[in-house]
Symmetry: C2
Subunit: 327 residues, 2 copies
């Protein structure tokens, strides 16, 4: 299989290269594409040194699959040229996710949807993947009806620059220097910022609405109602999510635990007394979604849980690469 | 007024000394008490240098009010001796909060309850104070019926040692050294720990149940139902809370905003497009509770909001000191 990565030098693009190896994808050619400023950068792949080339409208000839990790604007611009070259775009941006003829896929949940593609397959939002990985086993026992969600999102959700900004701010604070910020609207070191994405007229952000809009599509649950609050926290990697949810039939707590522990790609970490629960440090650089803190939630008429997952891996790169196998 | 502070050298005790000055409490004597290992420590108060003495059963003679900042065990032990000395204990620990004859007071909300004391008045849990400060204006317009809450709690909630542990871990990570932890069950630097307090049989922690149990008592709402998830985040100071809530009558968003902006001790910070929302860094070392991110929440049938407040100040020391004025 001849694969191209669009945006190969970013946090997600670099992780995709590693995931191609880990997931044992047979790669006959790997073409690394990025914007002009990264041209010539050398990246190792299976003992070979590959040079990054500039992504242009003619970069896609001869490729079978393009993994899109360059953001929505770039994906939108290049999609017609990828199609013209006869390749499939598996895109990590939000550009096409809600388009009717674009499947939105988490392989463990709706891998079969990938086959209905029309040249483009979309990878869901990172927090959305982590939340529904935690919940899909439960949904098999009884359909999800509603969720109230608060996130704890790592700075690398804003790319490598997000990590650099946190690191620089912590160093500045330790050395009594002035703090600078450009990636985040405020200081993120030792702070939380309850705003991710663009604000909409109703006060939600577009990032917050993805949990409902993308969740409905992935889960085939057009009536699922979700309230989401997205919060950036000073953590390098792995998003965590506090979820209260209800299902059509009230499950027993044993059913909820069983559903989670039998879900592929998910690990039950639910033994608080022994300090076992999901955490960013235990999910970082790991494809598994951890789920724990499972308790009856009388307010929503269901359960509460807490989950954590590496948003660069399962929330982005590993999920995108795994979609190749659905084809 | 002759005032004693029990646990004067801790994070809350030290803050109480500052709050006595800021709130202009007339202090004829200030007696600083702590455990034996702090004896002799010198603390400045209004230009005088006071020496910390050991708290013993005979330390309370001649005092009018004791501010308790030494933890539940200490408060329980000394309470009978404080009573015998004819002083009133205003206690920050959880020891007496749910006792029937002990008022649990947030002055802005139920200051009049303080007068019904029987020698002891309790200061509520820090997150509980911050959440209900955000909501009490709304509750005046229509009674709160239910809440789903996720917290973002600073390390100083575990005392000065919590701050030291976070600082040491960040320094160790920057210098490639081994990380040590004793205050928190896991590394807290660049991590969240979704477990605060002691685990109960139903999977909740005692810290999580305070939001409902103490909330019901403070608000005089015996049927209020609250689901709470408490999470420690790598932040020095100020707890933040994501809250979904419903009221008996569905308010308009204008009513919600008006209720918050007219609440004493609360600041409406609700202009996301201009990057205005509650944050730990803007509430740190400040008595004001910030509230923002107000949106209709169709899942709970009410609204969602995000609030932040300094848990050492309004969540503990300033609230305790302010209770003196209710008497």
């Amino acid at each position: 299989m001849k694969i191209g990565i669009l945006g190969a030098t970013g946090a997600v693009g670099q992780q995709m290269i590693q995931c191609l190896i880990e997931q044992d994808i047979k790669v006959d050619e790997l073409r690394l594409m990025a914007s002009r400023r990264s041209v010539g950068k050398e990246i190792e792949f299976k003992g070979e040194t590959l040079k990054v080339i500039e992504a242009t409208e003619n970069s896609f000839e001869g490729l079978d699959v393009i993994l899109g990790a360059a953001g929505g604007k770039s994906s939108k611009h290049f999609a017609p040229f990828i199609k013209k070259a006869g390749a499939i775009l598996i895109d990590n941006s939000s550009a096409f996710r809600l388009d009717k003829d674009v499947p939105l896929v988490i392989p463990e949940i709706n891998g079969e949807d990938a086959k209905k593609h029309n040249g483009i397959i979309a990878n869901p939002n990172c927090s959305t993947i982590i939340a529904f990985m935690a919940l899909y086993g439960i949904n098999k026992k009884s359909k999800l009806t509603k969720m109230i969600v608060s996130t704890y999102q790592a700075v690398s959700g804003a790319g490598i620059e997000g990590i650099t900004e946190l690191d620089n701010q912590i160093e500045a604070l330790l050395n009594g220097k002035e703090i600078e910020n450009s990636i985040f609207a405020h200081q993120i070191a030792y702070n939380c910022i309850p705003a991710i994405g663009t604000f909409l007229a109703d006060g939600y952000t577009d990032e917050e609405m993805k949990m409902q809009n993308e969740g409905r599509k992935i889960m085939h649950l057009p009536n699922l109602n979700v309230t989401c609050t997205c919060v950036r926290v000073p953590i390098i990697r792995s998003h965590s999510i506090s979820i209260s949810f209800a299902t059509e039939r009230l499950l027993t707590i044993e059913e909820v635990r069983e559903a989670i522990s039998s879900s592929k790609g998910v690990k039950l970490m639910d033994d608080g007394i022994n300090n076992v629960y999901p955490m960013p440090i235990s999910t970082s650089d790991n494809d598994i979604i951890e789920v724990g803190r499972i308790r009856e939630d009388k307010v929503i008429g269901g359960y509460s849980l807490f989950c954590s997952g590496d948003q660069i891996r399962k929330g982005a790169a590993s999920n995108t690469v795994a979609i190749i196998k659905c084809l």
